[in-house]
Amino acid sequence: MTTPRRLLLVAAPALLLAPAIAHATPDAMAAALREFTGGAEVRRGRVAMDISPLVENGNTVPLSVIVDSPMTEDDHVRAIAIFNERNPQPHVITAHYSARSGQALLATHIRLATSQNLLAVAALSGGTFWSDSAQVVVTLAACLEG
């Protein structure tokens, strides 16, 4: 059984190594998300985010998002936005689509400053918002330290 004192001992090195650089926080991510959705409800589902759960190099991380949608004039994906919790800025990319896109697909390479949660949100033409999230562990962070 681990006593609270032992826990503190285990946690102490982590406290000493706490980064001095300001990161975006889950609150900042929520604010960026509100800006994108205008406060509308975001439901889980229809969005599939594909990213490796264990990333060796945070400088370039392949990421792809696909949204289940017929992509017709009446029912299509207007936009997909990616947000993160702990990079210096919560926003990653916003992509815009029309019925001409044929498929709501986004693939790019992103930077991750540290292990964190990612959120992909799709805005549909009907005014609804859908999301998917992913947790990523980063072993080599994107170069903030030079």
Partner: protein, 106 residues
């Protein structure tokens, strides 16, 4: 002019949805990284990408510094008939580059 790679399927049938992959050479300097002299290197990134097919926007994206150097993008487009695909990248310090590709259907 930055070097650009654009991958378009070679044979396209009318009505087909094709995937286009693009890569442009750019450092995407985030504005958070200290340089060799210890001072933070000023931000210099691409901000916006637009893909037009015969003057109709089929895909557009806004980048943040969290996009990796040499931005790679893949997107899809429904091709009904042949036309001209115009890809434009805009960024900090007046960066503006446009590439056009002719698309023909079999």
């Amino acid at each position: 002019m930055a070097r650009v790679l654009i991958n378009i399927p070679r044979e396209i049938r009318a009505g087909e949805t094709i995937a286009i992959r693009t890569l442009i050479q750019h450092a995407m300097e985030s504005g958070y990284r200290p340089g060799a002299d210890g001072n933070v290197v000023p931000r210099d990134i691409l901000r916006r990408f637009t893909a037009r097919f015969d003057d109709e926007v089929v895909f557009a994206a806004e980048f943040s510094p969290a996009i990796a150097a040499n931005p790679f993008l893949s997107f899809t487009m429904n091709v009904v008939a042949g036309g001209t695909l115009t890809l434009r990248w805009e960024g900090d310090n007046g960066f503006d580059q446009t590439e056009t590709r002719r698309i023909t259907v079999a």
